[in-house]
């Protein structure tokens, strides 16, 4: 892998030892303004396409998003002046675009408006972002709360079992009219826990244990706790029937383990566990089996005379978009029906913005992940590195699982597209991820002295 990273946009010049990189806050501000203007433009395009007039709230919407973004920017300027200048603008643009897409779909479902709630949740998310940036002065503080994190994560995971199932999955809790998906918050907590635990124990994990052929297997002593946590979380998720999240946790677990220890043996163990889990889940859960069948034959239900299923409708939407898309507000992705604003939001982007817009969205996520990895490479202490890599991988895996699911690349597992999809908990969580990345990147760039030790 070259130094250019995954998608190189800003080439970091090799700086002399312990000299902070340029702050680049002006660039961040300019990009944020661009992101807000793009979102407002999308909002206006929807209104023009649907009613031939500018939507009534365009100015207010733009002002609201602008004020939120500027406040976040001020927080960064104040408390994380060295932070990577791309992270916040990407978050603003994706969140703004998500609001546009949800607003656009709201026009098709006058009885069920999701955009206002999403705007409130976005506000909460940005507020959390500012809180984290302002109050968390050093990410290493989080290391102290390793076990608090894991306990909190397990409690949050278990909580929805006490609440009634919604659409077959027990992943929501309802408080005062608001649905909260605790599993979303768990992701960050588990990433912190994995990073802290692996940073502390990586030597033990890497250098002890039996060797079978070329695989260096870890010892049971260190393996125990982490596999237990993983098993518990996956077990709970299977009980709650949220397979996307369990897949995500598993992926995060394997990636961090590999990064921390460098042992391919871990990947072998992980894949073995995954295979066992897949077989078990496939046996126990008939709806997983049907998901795989749908993935292999998305048009089987049409041939059976039962009409197109959601995947087929989603593929139709993407296909309609072609290269340039139908234009915002001019597609018919609403045919997908259930979950069109959440899991299938990408189909609307694909239909109305085309392959060009969809690729741009993928590249934005890619850029976000790349900035996370770049931060991990720049840092010297293992917790920060693992945390940055873990958070970035979380975004990468989540985008892959849901985007691959709705475009027919892999079997569909329900999950929210980060920032784009309707879902309050998801937006808040993603802002927390960006906030932590900003915090970590601030320390990384402040003490930059070339890539870390090999």
């Amino acid at each position: 892998m070259s130094k250019a990273g995954i998608i190189a946009v800003t080439a970091d010049p090799p700086a002399p030892a312990v000299r902070p990189l340029p702050r680049r806050r002006g660039i961040e501000l300019a990009l944020i303004i661009l992101a807000v203007l793009l979102s407002v433009y999308g909002y206006c395009a929807v209104g023009l396409a649907q009613h031939n007039t500018l939507p009534p709230g365009a100015a207010g919407y733009g002002a609201g998003l602008g004020v939120l973004a500027l406040l976040a920017h001020l927080a960064v300027r104040l408390r994380a002046p060295h932070a990577d200048p791309l992270l916040l603008p990407i978050g603003v643009l994706l969140n703004g675009l998500g609001l546009v897409l949800i607003y656009r779909l709201d026009l098709e479902t006058p009885g069920d408006r999701a955009a206002p709630a999403q705007l409130i949740w976005s506000t909460l998310g940005v507020a959390l972002f500012m809180l984290v940036v302002l109050l968390l002065r050093d990410h290493r503080v989080l290391q102290r709360y390793t076990y608090v994190c894991v306990v909190a994560a397990l409690v949050l995971l278990t909580l929805p079992i006490l609440f009634p199932a919604v659409n077959g999955a027990r992943i929501w809790i309802r408080i005062a009219g608001f649905s909260i998906q605790p599993g979303e918050f768990t992701k960050v907590l588990l990433a912190v826990f994995f990073a802290a635990y692996l940073a502390a124990n990586r030597n033990a994990l890497a250098y002890t244990g039996r060797r079978i052929w070329k695989l260096q297997l870890p010892t049971g002593r260190v393996l125990g706790p982490i596999v237990t946590v993983w098993l518990v979380s996956v077990g709970v998720l299977v009980l709650e029937r949220d397979l996307g999240t369990s897949l995500l946790f598993f992926g995060l677990f394997v990636v961090l383990l590999y990064v921390a220890t460098g042992r391919t043996g871990w990947i072998a163990v992980g894949l073995l566990l995954a295979a066992l889990g897949a077989v078990a889940v496939g046996r126990l859960e008939p709806h997983v089996h049907s998901r795989i069948a749908t993935w292999l034959h998305p048009f089987a239900s049409i041939e059976a005379g039962e009409g197109p299923n959601q995947i087929a409708q989603s593929l139709f939407a993407f296909a309609e978009g072609g290269v340039l898309g139908t234009g915002l507000g001019l597609g018919h992705s609403i045919l997908i029906g259930f979950a069109v604003k959440s899991d299938f939001i990408l189909a609307t982007a694909g239909e109305e913005l085309g392959l060009a817009g969809l690729s741009a969205i993928f590249l934005l996520y890619g850029l976000l992940v790349e900035r996370g990895y770049r931060t991990g490479l720049a840092l010297r202490e293992p917790f920060g590195r693992l945390l940055a890599v873990g958070l970035a991988s979380l975004v990468a895996l989540q985008v892959f699982v849901i985007a691959g699911g709705v475009t027919g690349l892999i079997p569909l597992t329900g999950m929210a597209m980060p920032f784009l999809a309707q879902g309050g908990s998801s937006v808040v969580t993603n802002w927390a991820i960006v906030a932590l990345l900003v915090r970590v990147s601030d320390s990384a760039r402040r003490q930059y002295d070339g890539p870390g030790p090999r």
Binding site: E320, F362, P453, R454
Partner: protein, 486 residues
């Protein structure tokens, strides 16, 4: 550790590449197949996403579009559904389109590339042209006269302008209202089932899609063949025909409903509608000439479109002499649509020339500018002009002194021929009453209208009385409507 972070980074990059490649696969490579999937509703949504163009009769639209605000947004409406159903057909979101709605669908729905401002413009912009209008040749007064004349009795009327082939009236009864079929709900499905289960078959367009034995009205064709071929040279010369007439090669005897047919002249035989005389004349003309004349009138043409297809009218080609005798009086395998019999009358009125009938005067862009106009149509000479002159005289006599007296119009020259066609096993069915005619106002330079009327369940005993009694008054009303409308 750095190395492993890079490895993990490469892994994430691979995921990104996989997503991008797969997106290109779905949106570019597979897109045409997905777009064409029958379960993909987008083509339907686009199709019904804008008001359909209108069909115009007499300068006024007889169709409309209703905004339902549903997924399939615009539904077809009809101002005079049953009156114009045999012309418009229906445009249903569930059951497709028929007749003009089908034949001119490209114009009406806006998909016709001619509607685009520039070639390939719509392909590039993904825009869709608004639907254009279809202007028909119908005369609303004639159409209404025919519809009211049939008054729901099973039958059909077709009227033409002889000099051009413009269709002035096209009515089938009993008719139906196409409006309930337009939508996509349960009501449309119910209407569809009800109409299909109806024993009177209201959705059958009897004027163009149903053939009947033409009976005595076919004697116009036989007379033309006899005169053209020289079998008869003088209208008043006795034809040397017996009554009853024994069909050649058989012992079957053909009789007449009226007296005075023995050895009658062509003029007498035409006015009395003598089966014996025309059967004998047909045999004397012979199969080749009879067939040639029938084909020249338009029989056995499977490709006639007005612009929707017209059922093929038949005159058998491989006939023995007995079959030829029966065929020559419009029985046996001779069958004709009402439109075909109107063409026969029009040929007589138009100096022996058959103009191919057409229903669409022109198509227009949404603004009203002409997109395409009906060009000159094919012309066939079905008989010598001199023969046409003599046949006109014979047909006028039928109206002035014969069975067609009910078709007479004051202040106009009217020529006609009645017919009663037996059908069914052993001729057990109620006979079909026919009347074909043409009319020329006293101040008109040429005949202005030719009509064919068939009434299926005529209340009549045998004989030409029923053709004159049931069908002639309808033809008269239609002709009068055309003559008085300017």
């Amino acid at each position: 550790m750095t190395r492993h972070i890079r490895h993990a980074g490469v892994f994430c990059a691979l995921l990104l590449v996989a997503l991008l490649l797969n997106a290109a696969r779905v949106q570019v490579v597979q897109a045409p197949a997905y777009d064409g999937n029958p379960a993909n509703r987008r083509p339907e949504i686009f199709r019904y996403g804008q008001p359909r163009g209108d069909i115009l009769v007499g300068g006024r639209p007889v169709t409309g579009s209703k905004d339902t605000r549903e997924h399939l947004r615009y539904e077809r409406t009809y101002t005079d559904g049953p009156l114009y159903a045999p012309v418009t057909g229906f445009a249903s979101q569930l059951y497709g389109t028929t007749l003009l709605e089908k034949a001119e669908d490209g114009i009406l729905s806006g998909t016709d590339p001619m509607l685009a401002p520039f070639p390939l413009w719509n392909d590039f912009t993904r825009a869709r042209s608004r639907g254009g209008d279809v202007v028909t040749t119908l005369d609303p007064a004639a159409q209404r006269a025919a519809y009211q004349g049939l008054a729901g009795r099973k039958g059909a009327v077709a009227a033409l302008e002889p000099s051009t082939g413009r269709i002035l009236a096209l009515v089938s009864a009993p008719s139906y209202d196409p409006r309930p079929l337009s939508g996509n709900g349960a009501a449309a499905a119910r209407a569809w089932r009800r109409l299909n289960a109806d024993r009177d078959r209201p959705m059958l367009n009897r004027a163009v899609r149903q053939t009947y034995p033409p009976g005595s009205t076919f004697k116009v064709v036989t007379a033309a063949a006899a005169l053209d071929s020289g079998v008869v040279r003088d209208l008043d010369e006795p034809t040397d025909s017996p009554d009853p007439y024994t069909l050649p090669g058989t012992r079957a005897r053909l009789t007449n409903a009226s007296r005075g047919c023995r050895d009658a002249s062509l003029r007498e035989a035409f006015i009395l509608s003598c089966n014996t005389v025309f059967a004998k004349l047909g045999v004397e003309v012979g199969v080749p000439d009879m067939t040639a004349t029938a084909h020249a009138f338009g029989f056995d043409n499977p490709a006639l479109r007005v612009p929707f297809p017209v059922a093929r009218s038949t005159f058998g080609t491989s006939l023995d002499r007995a079959q030829l005798a029966l065929s020559s009086i419009g029985q046996y395998n001779t069958r004709a649509t009402p439109l075909q019999m109107a063409m026969v009358a029009a040929a007589v009125a138009n100096g022996g020339q058959v103009r191919e009938p057409y229903l669409v005067e022109r198509t227009t862009r949404p603004g009203g500018s002409t997109l395409a106009a009906a060009g000159p149509r094919a012309v066939r000479q079905a008989m010598y002009p001199s023969t046409a002159v003599r046949l006109r005289a014979l047909m006028r006599e039928v109206v002035e002194d014969g069975t067609g007296y009910r078709a007479a119009i004051r202040g106009a020259k009217v020529g006609g021929k009645t017919g009663t066609a037996q059908h069914g096993l052993g001729n057990s069915g109620t006979p079909y009453a026919w009347f074909v005619s043409w009319a020329q106002g006293d101040r008109d330079p040429a005949p202005r209208v030719a009509v064919a009327v068939v009434v299926e369940d005529a209340e009549a005993d045998r004989g030409d009385i029923s053709g004159g009694g049931d069908a002639a008054p309808i033809a008269r009303a239609v002709m009068k409507a055309v003559l008085t409308s300017r």
